[in-house]
Each structure stands twice: as structure tokens, then as C-alpha cells.
């Protein structure tokens, strides 16, 4: 069955609890905004909750297929599909608007969002290397075989897949306020190269299993195809996010009335006030 996947009953419970707490906090924040008369589109609530549900389903681990296919489904659901639903819901924007101005939680969040590590981690090529590099290490070195022997390492791999997926999606979409905004060409090229690495890795798995593992041939091939075509769907979704923001921006540049969401709050970060690439002051 699926005894290796998911990080044991304790890990599953913890993952589900974290996801539930995050979704509850998101819905509470959105309710606070609406309660005081601010607009916050309902579809974002739905998107965030759906993303959380995908992670919970992946963590539960009772998915159909052989062991490697299940592993791959988990990686697709929690590490790729869930971030594409969570990140466009703009959780950071919501938190900055829902938290009390001047309060310690908001100040801490803002400081973290503007910190040097955050700046580096959200530099799209760095986020892509963390995400795709992690996958290459997992599937092309004996790391996955070692994780089968050490549950703690296995849990860490799962956490890394989700965290790196969220980071990559966040860096490429760039919908939430960050201090250093990156141009569309850099983000599009990053998406292209990351997608290429993902596709090549998927095809290489079709031919050769991760070192030290003994998955059945049909399990391996199903998983490889799943990774390849699943990656396509996620890339299409990410490209659609980039295209939609370009389309909206082009309309703004043409001076048309557009805007579906609320105006950015005054303190949520220097969105669009700063020319792109104007980073680097103070170090």
C-alpha cells in the first residue's frame, strides 16, 4: 500500500493541522477586511482553501497507484498544484492588510518580507534552483533511497518540496508586495528554464529510476509521464498568471479603467512606486 509515503501518522496529522490553521487564518483575515468594508474577492478565499485541501490530500497519502506514482502525485499536488492556488490568493497582501497597523505581528511580517534573505530567496533564478535543484538531488542521487530508510529525512524532503514550490511560485508570479520587484522577462525566462529542467528530469526518470530504488517498471513509467504532463498543466497555469498581469498592466499603461481587486494599501509595500530593478540601496 502506501506505507512509505506521507511521513507517518504524526507527520500527517501535523501537516493537516498546519494547513487547517493557515486556511482558517486566511478566511478570518478576509472576513476582517470585509467586515470593515474593504473589498477582497471571494475567489481568492476559494483558491486558498482549495490549495490547502490539495496539501491535506497529498499529506494523507492514500492515493491510487504504485509507490513511486503515489510519491509523484504527492509531489504534483502539494509542491506544484497547491502553490499555484495558494500564491495567487495573495496571502501576504491579506496579512498586511488584516493585521493591525503598528502592531508587532505586522511589523515582524513586514521586516521579514523586506529582509535580505527574503530578497535573495525571491530572486526568481535562486528560487528556481532551490526548487528544481532539490528535485534533481532527490531523483538523481541516492537521496530518495536514503529517505526510505530514514523517516525524518523523508519528512524533510516533503517539507522541502512544498516550501520550494511555494517559493518558486511566489517568485515567478510576484503578486504579493516585495521590496525588489523583478521584471517580466526575467520571470518568464526563469519559468521557461525551470519547466525545461522539470520536463527533462521527468523523461530521464522514464529511462532510469532514482539511484538505489527498486520501483517496478510500469510504476516508474506512469510516474514519469505524470510528472511530465502534470508539470505542463502547472506551467500553463503559471504562464497564465504572468500573461494576465501583463495584460492588466498593458491596459493601465494605455490609461484604461481596469482593476478588479481593491487598491493596494498605503503600507503594504512600495508596489509600483519604485522602478523595477531599483534595488540595492543600502547594500
Amino acid at each position: 500500500m502506501t506505507h512509505h509515503h506521507g511521513a507517518g501518522a504524526g507527520g500527517r496529522l501535523l501537516a493537516t493541522a498546519v494547513v487547517l490553521a493557515a486556511v482558517a487564518a486566511y478566511l478570518a483575515g478576509a472576513a476582517r477586511l470585509r467586515g470593515r468594508g474593504d473589498a477582497w474577492p471571494r475567489h481568492r478565499d476559494l483558491s486558498f482553501a482549495a490549495g490547502g485541501a490539495l496539501i491535506a490530500v497529498a499529506a494523507d497519502g492514500t492515493l491510487p497507484g504504485g509507490p513511486f506514482t503515489v510519491h509523484m502525485l504527492q509531489h504534483l499536488l502539494a509542491g506544484m498544484a497547491a502553490p499555484v492556488l495558494l500564491v495567487p490568493a495573495r496571502p501576504l497582501t491579506l496579512a498586511l492588510r488584516a493585521l493591525r497597523p503598528g502592531g508587532p505581528p505586522r511589523r515582524a511580517l513586514l521586516a521579514a518580507a523586506r529582509s535580505a534573505p527574503a530578497r535573495w530567496l525571491t530572486f526568481p533564478p535562486v528560487a528556481a534552483v532551490l526548487d528544481m535543484g532539490g528535485l534533481w538531488l532527490m531523483y538523481r542521487t541516492p537521496l530518495l533511497a536514503a529517505a526510505h530508510r530514514h523517516p525524518a529525512l523523508h519528512a524533510l524532503l516533503h517539507v522541502h518540496i512544498v516550501a520550494a514550490g511555494l517559493l518558486f511560485t511566489f517568485a515567478v508570479c510576484q503578486l504579493d508586495p516585495v521590496r525588489h520587484r523583478r521584471g517580466l522577462p526575467l520571470r518568464a525566462v526563469t519559468l521557461l528554464l525551470a519547466g525545461a529542467a522539470h520536463a527533462a528530469l521527468a523523461k530521464s526518470l522514464y529511462a532510469a529510476p532514482p539511484p538505489g530504488t527498486a520501483y517496478g517498471l510500469s510504476d516508474l513509467r506512469t510516474a514519469a509521464r505524470l510528472m511530465y504532463y502534470g508539470g505542463d498543466l502547472v506551467e500553463l497555469a503559471l504562464a497564465a498568471v504572468l500573461a494576465a498581469s501583463w495584460y492588466a498592466r498593458a491596459a493601465r499603461a494605455a490609461g484604461r479603467p481596469i482593476r478588479t481587486g481593491p487598491p493596494p494599501p498605503s503600507q503594504a509595500g512600495p508596489r509600483r512606486l519604485r522602478p523595477e530593478g531599483a534595488g540595492g540601496e543600502g547594500g
Binding site: A196, A207, Y228, L236, A239, A240, A243, A251
Partner: protein, 144 residues
């Protein structure tokens, strides 16, 4: 770049992606002629395949966004756009037939046949036909 050229380029991106999708859906999935992975594919072929495959996906989205932008500005030249679709589709087909199948040897058109040549000829002839239609439509659009 003027409106006709832009319309053509945006539509060509869509044409490339549509042909790539036809290749993926008809020849890989429905007919099962193309193989997902060919044991004679060199590593560089695998990387190039990943790059081209992803570029086609992004090209589809970019092409539609560009097309929609031209349309809302009233700058879409219909005749040139159709020419672009055919030129993109034919260009992709020819590229796939020559570079992917023959130079990179990603996969062949079909495996269980004694002679591949008729398949390769038909494939590339279809490409030239599409390119020919695209060229004719371009000439017609330019005359108007």
C-alpha cells in the same frame, strides 16, 4: 513593428503551439506512434526536448495574451493573423520533422514499420503545404 507584422507574429506563436499540441495529442496519445522516450535519444536531446516543449506551452499563452492585447486596441489585422497561424504551424511541423526527428532523434514518427521514409516525406510535405498556405495568405493580406 506595424500592426500587420504584430498580428502575424502573435498568431504565429499560436500556430506553433497548436501544431505542437496536435503532435502531442494525435501522434503521442491517440495513435501512439511517437514514443514518450526513445532509447537512442542523447542527453542533449532530452534537454532540448524539455526546452522546446516548455517554450511551446509558454508561446501558446504569450501568443493569446498578445493577440488579445492587439484586439482590444483595435490593431488586429485579420488576414495577416490567419497567415501567421499557418506559417507558425507549418514552421513548427518542418522543424519537428527535420530537427526533432532527424537531427536530435528525439523520437521517430512511427516504430513498427519497415520503412520510415514515406512517413518522413509525408510529414515534411504537410509542413510545406501549411507554409505554402501561409505564404499565399500573406500575399493576399498584403494586397488589400
Amino acid at each position: 513593428m506595424g500592426a500587420p507584422r504584430r498580428s502575424m507574429a502573435a498568431a504565429a506563436l499560436i500556430g506553433i503551439a497548436v501544431m505542437a499540441a496536435v503532435d502531442e495529442i494525435v501522434f503521442h496519445q491517440i495513435l501512439g506512434w511517437h514514443h514518450f522516450y526513445d532509447r537512442s535519444t542523447p542527453a542533449i536531446g532530452l534537454l532540448t526536448d524539455g526546452l522546446l516543449h516548455t517554450a511551446e506551452l509558454l508561446g501558446l499563452v504569450a501568443g493569446f495574451a498578445w493577440w488579445a492585447d492587439l484586439r482590444r486596441r483595435g490593431m488586429l489585422a485579420g488576414g495577416h493573423a490567419w497567415a501567421g497561424v499557418f506559417l507558425g504551424a507549418g514552421g513548427f511541423q518542418l522543424f519537428d520533422g527535420i530537427v526533432d526527428h532527424k537531427l536530435l532523434r528525439l523520437h521517430q514518427i512511427r516504430y513498427d514499420v519497415p520503412d520510415l521514409l514515406p512517413y518522413d516525406l509525408a510529414w515534411n510535405a504537410a509542413a510545406l503545404l501549411l507554409l505554402g498556405i501561409g505564404a499565399a495568405l500573406t500575399v493576399r493580406a498584403n494586397r488589400r
